[in-house]
Every structure is written in C-alpha cells, then in structure tokens.
Symmetry: C2
Subunit: 204 residues, 2 copies
C-alpha cells in the first residue's frame, strides 16, 4: 500500500492523477466521504460521495480500515481496498488525509509505504485553495490552520516529497512507487533459478 498524503492544497490529487495517467501498474483506493463533490470530481472515481447516514452505517458495519473527520466532513478508507492490496500483492494507492494515513501506517506497518507531499509554502497553499473557488474564506482559514499541524507530522511518514515543481514531485513519487515494487520480499523464493533463465517472479 502506497499511502500519499498532504495538507489540503498540497498537490496530492494532481500527483496521484499523474500516476494514474501513466497507466503504471497501480490500483487506486477510492475513499468514501460526506463532503459534497467539487465540479470536476466524479462519484466512484474521485470519491464515493455518500450521505452522513450512509457513512454512519458503514462505520457500524465495520467497513472502514480507517476514517477521520477533516474540515468538518468525514472521510474513510473502505476495508476492501486494503484487503485487495494484501491479497493480490498489487501496489494500491491510498490518497488520504494525514490522520488517515498515520492510522493506516499504524495498522499495517509492514505493508505500507507512506509519502508526505510537502507544499512549497503556506502562501502557495492559500493561493491554490483560493483558485478552487469552492472554499469560503473561513474554510480556507481552517485548512491553513490544519496545514500547519499536518506539516508538523511530516516526519512520521516514510518519505517526504517537496512539491516545488510538480514534474519533480511526480518523478520522485514514481521513484518511490517503483522502489516498492523492487523490494526483495516481493519476490518468490529463488529455487526456481536454474541457469536457463530467470523464473523468479513477484510473489503475488
């Protein structure tokens, strides 16, 4: 599981979209949220947009690997994406908030690599949030306040990618994803190596 997180406006969605566009061998976890969709967001792709009642029911039925309230809305990672990652051995991308990322990391320490996307500055976050046009003044203030607290937790992640130039940030993130795929524990036992060609394969 590749867990990618950043403060709101930090650039995590742009980076994850770039990975998706590359057709790289990734799958994406789709979080559930009670937040209303932004104009360019598609239900079932960006998020599963569900009601407060539906969210509460999913909690009741223990369907979340983690969930958290962020900026007044709830966000949760459905357990089935975690199970799919563990069962298939595929690299599953989780684009989630800092609280959720740290919960996943704590719950699955051996199966997660976590990346904090570091915005170049709070001013830049402010600019990006303003551009969205969907955030009120009060909402932007709240997100900035939270950004400070989230940045303070950056070192709890495995990796920090500085999003100063988006192309570099994408390249860095891709290098981390590729490295995860080269981890020795992902390879089957090597007894199959018989001198007539490689028969080792990723173990799942």
């Amino acid at each position: 599981m590749l867990v990618i997180s950043s403060p709101s406006g930090g650039g995590k969605t742009t980076i994850c979209q770039a990975l998706l566009d590359m057709g790289a061998p990734f799958e994406f976890s789709v979080s559930a949220t009670t937040r209303p969709p932004r104009p360019d967001e598609i239900d079932g792709v960006s998020y599963h947009f569900i009601s407060d009642d539906e969210f509460s029911k999913m909690i009741e039925h223990d369907e979340f690997a983690e969930w958290a309230a962020v900026h007044g809305h709830r966000y949760g990672t459905p357990k089935r994406f975690v199970e799919r990652a563990l069962e298939t051995g595929k690299i599953m991308i989780f684009e989630i908030d800092v609280q959720g990322a740290m919960k996943l990391k704590t719950a699955y320490p051996d199966d997660t690599a976590s990346i904090f996307i570091m915005p170049p500055s709070l001013d830049e976050i402010k600019k990006r949030l303003g551009k969205r046009g969907t955030n009120s003044e009060a909402d932007i203030r709240l997100r900035l306040k939270n950004a400070r607290a989230e940045i303070a937790r950056a070192k709890e992640f495995d990796y920090i990618v500085i999003n100063n130039r988006i192309e570099n940030a994408i390249e860095d993130t891709l290098a981390i994803a590729k490295t995860e795929m080269l981890a020795a524990h992902r390879f089957n036992d090597l007894n199959g190596f018989n001198g007539f060609g490689i028969t080792i394969l990723p173990s799942k």
Copy 2:
C-alpha cells in the same frame, strides 16, 4: 550507504558506472583488492590495487569495514568511506561482492540500502565472463559455482533488480537511490517551516 552487489558477470559495474556518468549526487567507495587489474581498470578509481602484504597490513591496522576472499583474491571496503557516508550524509555507493554486502548490512542495518543485481541467467553470466577474455576456463567455472550460491542469498538484500535489459536495470537502481534520498529521516526538523517558503533541508 547504497550497497550494490551481484554475482561476477551480473552487471553491477556497468550499472554503477552509469550512475557515476549521470553526475548524480553520489559518491563512490573504492574498494581495495589483491586481484590484478583488468585492461580497462584504473588504480584508485576502479579499485585500489594492492599487494597481499599491503592488504594484510590494512587488516592488522583495522582499516577495513569488511573484507572477504572471493575467487582466490581478497577484497575489502576501507572504513574511511563508511565514515565519510555517515558523517556527510551523502549517498555513498558500495559496489561489492555478496559476502561483503551482507557484512556491511549487518554492521550498519539502519544506514544501508542493499541491492542485488540479478543476472537474467547463468548462461548469460557465462557469456559475459567469456567475453572479458581475462578469465581462464577454471576461473569461469569457479565464478559460475559461486554465482549459484550468491543468487540463493538474493532475498537477504533489501531490493532485487533484474538485469535483463541494462537500461531498465539502471533506471530501477536510480529509482532506489532517489527514494533513499527522500526518506523522511534525512530531513531536518520542520520547525523552520514558517509559511514563507520551505526551509527544511536534507539533514546533512
């Protein structure tokens, strides 16, 4: 410390040379050996080519972080490259044999990332060793025998890079090196982040 290893003929030298050519922010550890130089090898760059007596003296003076006898010659990693890596925080590349790689990994578990370069087949190793023109029939037989034993240890490494196509193997190795540089522990504490621009820097 990025420790890169492969059986003889596995391609580690070609890959390390490619990293060096890229002018990437790496430094290279230069091992000492009692093996005579090959035609294209330069003393002090490829290896420090020293006599058996000199090698023994370095052992006596405790100047090696690790040393091993491989294919009838001795190879050792001078301690000062390890110390330099730990002191400067630079990514130091150690191109060493499997025994030596595992000794370094055991001695510095928190400060090494180890990569096993997996040759595509034993036949391919045989072909490459033959091409060198500097190996006798008996020498090639010995190296092939050792290759089998070394491949069996591949999973003790952190990463496995399959050297089927050299360009891919270089790209994979570079991704691992880059990922190492993005590790969160390499960043200074984030108190410097003040909202007016990133002030965090790699910690050394």
